[in-house]
Structures are given as C-alpha cells and as structure tokens.
Amino acid sequence: MSDPTLLVLSSLAEGDKHGYAMMEDIELFAGVRLGPGTLYGAITRLEERGWIRPVGSKDRRQPYTISGAGREYLRDQLANLDRVVRTGLRRLKNA
C-alpha cells in the first residue's frame, strides 16, 4: 500500500504526530519512505477535507490529530482493503 493519505491517517490513528514523526512512523510500519513534498501534499489535502487538524503548538514542528470524519474514512478504506486482501489470499489458497 502506498497511498500517502491512507498512510498518514493510519499513522495519526495511533496518536498526534508532526511531519517528521509521521515520516519515521510510516517507514517503520509500511516500509515506505514518503518524501517531504508527498507528505505535505497529503497533509494539505487531508486538512482541506477536515480529516486531520493541527494541534495547538508553539513549536515550528506542527503536530496533527485525526478527526472523527478522518477515522470514519480510514475505517471504510481499511475495511475495503481488508476485503480485497482476504479475497486474494483465499483465492491463492484455493488455486
């Protein structure tokens, strides 16, 4: 899976994080290193849709949190993905 928006939402599902922490976390759990441009492209789109929002901070390293709508969207997408994965695995097993 390499969809940056799903990766960012999955990372924030664990807790609030700033950009660099998200990059590190995503690399750890998905094995994908998002470039800074890709990461901030995803953050911009997700904030516009109200799926994440910035958390008050005095530091330049701005943390983000996932919103209720963001959680809902992530749940739907992961359920779809899960269905595809289980179907694929079952078919491979029966083949």
């Binding site: 700033h18 470039g35 800074p36 901030y40 530091d59």
Partner: protein, 254 residues
Amino acid sequence: MKRTMTFLARLYPSSWRKRYGAELDALLEDARPSARDAVDVFLGAFRMQMTTWNVGRITLACMVVGILLAAAASFVVPVHYVSQTVLWVTPGDGSTSTGESGRSLVSILARNIFVREYLASVIQEHNLYPGERARKPLDDAIDKMKRNITLEATPYASPAHPDTLTFVVRFGYPEARVAAQVNEELISRFMQGAVQNAQQFNSNWNFRVLDPPSIPLKPATPNRTQFAVGGLLAGLLAGLTLAIVFKSRRTTTV
C-alpha cells in the same frame, strides 16, 4: 543540499507557504534530505502551484515554455540552404510538339540526373557529405543527395503558351554556396541531356533559364517562425490538458 532544499521549498505558492512553510522547513531540517527528496519537494511545489493557478495562467505558462523549447530546438536542428533554378521548356517555332511530349522529355532528363555514377562524381568533386562518407559507404551519401534534389515540372498556365512547361530544380545543403554550385552542375547535366536526346524526340524544344541558381541568403530550415508557432500550439494543448487534469484531480483526489 540544505541550500537547495531551502530554494526548492520557496517554490511553493506564497499562500501555501504562509500556512505550511515553517513546518516544511522544520521537516527538511530534521529529515536530512537526499537528492530524491529534492525531486519530491520540487514536484510537490509544482503540483501545488498548478492547483492554485487558474486555467488561463497554466495555459499561458505552458505556451511560454512551449515557445522557449521550440526556440531552443530550432537552434539544434541543422541549417539547410536550398538553391533553386527555374527553366522554361517551350516548343520551338513551327514545332508540333505538345505538352505531353515535353513532359516525357523532362522525365527522361530528370532520370538522367539521378544516375548513381553521376551523383557519385558530383559528391566527390564538391566534397559533399564529408561526415557521412567518413562513417558510411558512398551509397548512403548518394541516397542522401537524391533526397536533397527536387525536380518539378508543371504546365505553364497561359493561353499564349499552352504547351510550355515550367521546370524547377532544387538542391538543399548545409552550405549556401555549395548548394548553388551543385544546383548549377545539375542544370548543366540537364541541358547536356536535352541536347543528346533532341534526336530521339524528333522535335524542337527551347530551354530558357528564367531564374538561374543563386546563393540562398536565408536557410530553408529551420524555419524559426514555424517552430515558434508549433511550440505555441503545443504549449496551448499541453496547458489545457494539464489544467483539466489538475483541476479534476483537485475535486476527485483525496
């Protein structure tokens, strides 16, 4: 790399930088970016610019880029000068020759020009295509020379001269003076053939050089105006396509 990244981060739209600029700068300081990250930031800035620009601005920018690329390409394309000679082929006084027999004569004389041995001797005499001949056999240079020769015979549309033909010989070469010299050589070969074949055609034809081979002052290619118009149109097309793609992605992509 740090200065490069600072410069690339400045390429984002100013409205975007007001909101996210400080965070992105902090991330770039923490992440020890690589060359791959630099490309990623550049592409991110490009995408963000595209989403903030309106259709007109994207199209205009692409048109400017199209003209600049076309201008650059026009300087890379090899220069080609074309020397031209125009002949008038008319039936002589009291002759019963027709335009049809004139065309047959012109066709035979034209074939006479394309004889390989003759072209080989012209190539060697004028030292044509030295680069090609150094790398490839002479036959390749002969084929190239054939492609650079144009012969055209068209009826001269005048009620006073119904059987007159206009015959045009063109030769293109990267050097203007050489193009004119070889064109002159081709015309003299044509005329020699006319004298030798006069008996065969049993007719009396007059050949008059209307426009002698002159040294072309301007190259025929590259035509910089054509390049600029092509670049402009390609830019217009690319700009509209890009604008549609980015605007549709803005509304559909998460």
